[in-house]
């Protein structure tokens, strides 16, 4: 059908909301609660109101569906008045500490305030405007229900900044099924938080921090610690960067999603003062070699099946907290970050004759969950803390901006080769299906003993939440599955428990489309942004000279000189871990 928006005709389907049609056609509409990952919208924030010929008053464009004969006006006097007063009311309830706020310059509320000229605390009397008693009353009422949570390693919350858009509640409940948050209380005391204000105790995937429009929920900030390490002349700062980070880092500096910015990333880290910059993709290749070996062992021993990937710490936590009966199915392999880190403090430190005491190992990651993983008691193997600190992409970008380092003006640099050579298979870890594809490239060649003709395994690629495939390998029908988002993982676990499905190997990622949709990635994101990021990843894999993990020359050397062979005692000690039943 056709509908009229601002006196022009546009195509619309019966299920389209006015907002969807506007978005498709580049018509600007302000929103605070609508989000492409959280459909259908509920019309909670009232920012997207428009005038329509189908109703007397203003209607919310995120809920109103298109219909024959609909005529919409998006910039009338009433619409603009509604937006302005709405923002002024929100601004009055907001902490207003922009200068020191983590989201300064990248905050949705701030951008809207700028767009609609909201600059004063119109609804809050200024200091000295009231008698002292009343003034105290006012402050007390405003902040009587503030929830501040800095008790966990990954996610920081401060409800002084909250606009009650409910995105976090929805994503945690609908996408991740964890439901750690709820809307609590009523009236002006309405607050989004945990029950009884207990410290957050979830799977730390950080999706809430990725959808929050303000600084109410953010990644825990470790930049101060990082700066301190960089400034310590006694310490060597050794950094590793995750596969997906090089495809999203550019967005923080104006590049299109999916732009391959590896050279700029390394250059920026070097400019900050990092002594060495290594590539987590090498760790990913290492993970594949160990994990493929483990899979083949399980095939020989007929179980336990399915084997689940273990590189996503949120997925691990999810199993430990809600489905501990599946712990034996998890691969014992650590994640790439946690495989590379102990090698830094043992193999590499020994080779370079550096005292591991001096090394501060930092990783730049797409997720908040890695901060949790780094401090797991069971994870350390080098004799020290393997990963000393984890910074998300957002934190790194924030630090660079603070230090006025613009990667765009830097000359591209390469990873330090000692632990910086990687393969296309490892790069694929960045997106959902990548671990599976990388593992298949190695496992199939190992099992058949023959070189792969075509290295691509398209059947495990894709954007859908749950995919499966059957791959014939030397008479064995290898049944594999790939899921992302915990709700799909939950469905899979439930069907496994009922005996409805049967797989050998399953890749699980907690975040939408895998790490490129991680909780610590640049925001705002959404299905379109993630699609572009995936395209970047696949293009890079295609363009790399080596595309199978077991062909990584540095890894071959490390096994020869240090680890021995996959699954060796040394490998078990450094590269494998155990899990804990954390069900309450």
């Amino acid at each position: 059908m056709q509908i009229k928006i601002n006196n022009k005709l546009y195509e619309a389907n019966p299920d389209d909301t006015i907002l969807a049609v506007c978005r498709r056609n580049g018509i600007r509409l302000p929103v605070l609660c609508a989000h492409p990952d959280l459909l259908p919208s509920e019309g909670v924030c009232r920012m997207c109101l428009v005038e329509s010929n189908q109703s007397k008053g203003l209607v919310s464009s995120c809920t109103q569906k298109a219909c024959e004969g609909l005529e919409v006006q998006t910039e009338t006097e009433n619409v603009n008045r509604a937006r302005k007063i709405n923002l002024e009311l929100l601004w009055a309830d907001h902490a207003g500490k922009c200068a020191s706020c983590k989201r300064n310059g990248r905050c949705e509320l701030q951008s809207l305030a700028k767009e609609y000229d909201v600059d004063e605390f119109k609804f809050v009397p200024r200091r000295k405007e009231l008698e002292s008693g009343d003034e105290l009353d006012l402050v007390k009422d405003n902040w009587s229900h503030v929830a501040i949570d800095g008790k966990n390693s990954s996610i920081a919350r401060d409800s002084q900044f909250c606009v009650e858009c409910r995105r976090c509640v929805k994503i945690c409940r609908d996408m991740q099924t964890v439901e750690a948050y709820g809307m609590n209380y009523r009236s002006s005391k309405t607050n989004i938080g945990t029950s009884f204000e207990i410290p957050l105790d979830c799977i730390f995937c950080g999706q809430c921090s990725a959808v929050c429009p303000t600084a109410a929920i953010t990644e825990k900030d470790d930049t101060a610690e990082f700066e301190k390490a960089l400034g310590d002349p006694q310490k060597m700062v050794i950094v590793q960067t995750a596969p997906s980070v090089r495809f999203t880092f550019g967005e923080e500096f104006g590049e299109a999603p999916g732009t391959f910015w590896e050279g700029k990333l390394v250059a920026a880290l070097k400019r900050l003062g990092c002594d060495k910059v290594f590539d987590t993709v090498l760790g990913a290749d290492l993970t594949i070699i160990e994990e493929a070996h483990e899979l083949i062992q399980r095939v020989k021993n007929k179980g336990p099946f399915p084997m689940f990937t273990s590189c996503c710490p949120s997925w691990i936590l999810y199993v430990e907290k809600y489905w501990p009966e599946f712990i034996p199915n998890l691969s014992s392999c650590k994640s790439p970050q946690q495989m590379l880190a102990p090698l830094m403090k043992t193999y590499w430190a020994q080779k370079e004759k550096i005292n591991p005491d001096q090394i501060i190992s930092v990783s730049i990651m797409p997720c908040t969950s890695k901060k949790y993983e780094a401090q797991r008691k069971e994870i350390n193997a080098s004799g020290y803390r393997d990963v000393d600190m984890v910074l998300t992409v957002r934190e790194l970008a924030r630090l660079l901006r603070k230090k006025k380092i613009d990667p765009r003006s830097l000359k591209e640099k390469k990873f330090d080769p000692a632990l910086g050579v990687s393969t296309g298979a490892g790069v694929l870890f960045a997106q959902s299906g990548g671990v599976m594809e990388a593992a298949l490239r190695t496992a199939v060649e190992n099992i058949t003993g023959e070189e792969l003709g075509k290295v691509e395994f398209e059947m495990v690629r894709g954007e859908s939440g749950a995919r499966c495939a059957e791959i014939g390998v030397d008479g064995l029908k290898l049944r594999v599955a790939v899921v992302h988002e915990i709700k799909n993982a939950k469905n899979l676990l439930e069907s496994l428990k009922k005996g409805e499905s049967n797989y050998h190997f399953v890749e699980v990622m907690a975040c939408p489309n895998g790490c490129i949709g991680g909780g610590g990635q640049p925001v705002p994101a959404g299905p379109a942004v993630r699609k572009a990021r995936i395209a970047g990843v696949l293009a890079r894999d295609k363009g790399m000279p080596i595309r199978k993990s077991h062909e990584n020359p540095v890894l071959k050397k490390i096994y020869k000189e240090f680890l021995g062979h996959p699954g060796s005692e040394k490998a078990e000690e450094l590269l494998h871990t155990e899990y804990v039943n954390r069900k309450t």
Partner: protein
């Protein structure tokens, strides 16, 4: 003519037999089950022109027809006795004096739309009335009016009482439905409307208790007779609640179309203003009602398009000795507390209005406050998710227009209050 209160002084609410004997209680139910089919019952209610007595005045027959025509194996019927509008207690009194009127109406309604399960959603504070209803339901069950095989027929209708827990917004039908589903009492988007998709996603009719109390009369005496009482566009009688500075405070049953002038001054009803007091204005429809000055009392009070909507039928007479600032605070305080908190304009707007009202009460108002009142009232009237926001602005809007100058003692300039 008295339809609802007719036999109240003769009926013992704790004895179902007194209801049966006096005026033929449960005969309408018998007529429906034995002589009519559901479609005929719906038709009768439609022809009667009965409209909802909770405040919105929606044609009851239309609601029933919509639910009856929506195909579903499970349907629900809910009696809304949440009654939290300040200034009204008519539903409470019906439950106290003649609970079976409500129960019979509920049963007929459930039969008409095809619902096997019904709820009476009662205000959590109405504990005594809850007990009375429990006894009444038990007795109705013993007589096989409620439960499996009603009056020996193939119809099953189960009634459960559901107590509220202190939330005015739960009087709104979708919020009410949400609270029964174990969710926060926040209103839902409409459409879909409850008769199409309501409780647990099934067709649900939510009717006010007073609306249901009219049903037995309509079935017994017929739609035609009912449609001739009161006003043509909204027939029947209404339980008006008179409070404030009138001589005879309390419940008065009068035909719809009666003017507030009559209700306040006629000796049949209010009997005039309390001696020693002077009429200032009347708030019609509870705390969300408009303020009618002396010149506007001649408008007939009925549902349908009118300048002063009747709402729940509460008429609060305010005399000149009242402190308008206290009243303004009372209204702002109520809506601030009862805002569900879902949408920004209501959650923040009622809060800011409440702060302003607090300062107003202490005579500590700032010039900025006066400018802000206009913006807050506009946004509450135009941008909220549900009507509670609109309700919060009604009385203040009228007060600003009528007494703004006095209240603020300064020139208001070009401000236009809606």
């Amino acid at each position: 003519m008295n339809i609802l209160t007719k036999n109240w002084d003769k009926i013992n609410p704790l004895d179902i037999n007194s209801y049966i004997r006096t005026g033929g209680g449960y005969e309408s139910l018998r007529k429906c089950i034995r002589e009519m089919n559901p479609a005929q019952v719906v038709d009768e209610i439609e022809k009667s022109g009965l409209r909802g007595r909770g405040g919105a005045g929606f044609p009851t027959g239309e609601k029933w027809e919509l639910a009856a025509n929506t195909p579903a194996k499970t349907k629900y019927f809910i009696c809304n006795l949440d009654e939290s509008e300040p200034g009204t207690y008519k539903d409470r009194v019906i439950a106290e004096k003649n609970p079976h009127q409500i129960i019979e109406g509920l049963l007929i309604g459930a039969f008409a739309v095809g619902a096997k399960r019904a709820f009476i959603y009662i205000n959590g504070h109405y504990r005594k009335q809850n007990e009375i209803l429990k006894v009444a339901l038990e007795q109705a069950r013993e007589k096989e009016f409620v439960g499996h095989s009603v009056m020996g027929s193939a119809i099953d209708i189960e009634i459960d009482i559901f107590q509220g827990a202190g939330a005015y917004i739960c009087g709104e039908e979708t919020a009410l439905i949400n609270s029964i589903e174990g969710k926060r009492g926040e209103p839902r988007l409409k459409p879909p409307y409850p008769p199409v998709k309501g409780l647990f996603g099934k067709p649900t009719v939510v009717n006010n208790a007073e609306t249901l109390a009219n049903i037995p009369f309509i079935i017994k005496r017929g739609a035609k007779i009912f449609s001739q009482i009161g006003a043509a566009v909204s027939p029947g009688t209404k339980l008006f609640v008179l409070e404030g500075a009138v001589k005879n405070r309390g419940i008065h049953e009068a035909p719809l179309g009666t003017t507030s002038q009559e209700l306040i001054y006629n000796s049949l009803y209010g009997g005039g203003i309390e001696s020693g007091k002077e009429f200032w204005f009347a708030q019609i429809g509870g705390a969300s009602g408009r303020l009618a000055p002396a010149g506007k009392l001649d408008q007939p009070l009925a549902y349908g398009k009118s300048e002063y909507t009747l709402g729940c039928g509460s008429i609060f007479v305010v005399d000149k000795s009242a402190n308008i600032k206290d009243l303004l605070f009372s209204w702002a305080d109520f809506f601030h507390r009862e805002s569900c908190g879902k949408c920004v304009p209501c959650r923040e707007g009622t809060y800011r209005l409440w702060e302003i009202a607090k300062r107003l009460k202490k005579n500590n108002l700032q010039k900025k406050d006066i400018e802000n009142i206009e913006d807050i009232l506009w946004t509450l009237s135009s941008t909220t998710f549900c009507p509670l926001g609109n309700f919060a602005a009604v009385a203040w809007n009228d007060a600003m227009r009528m007494f703004g100058r006095e209240i603020f003692n300064i020139e208001l300039g070009e401000s236009e209050f809606v």
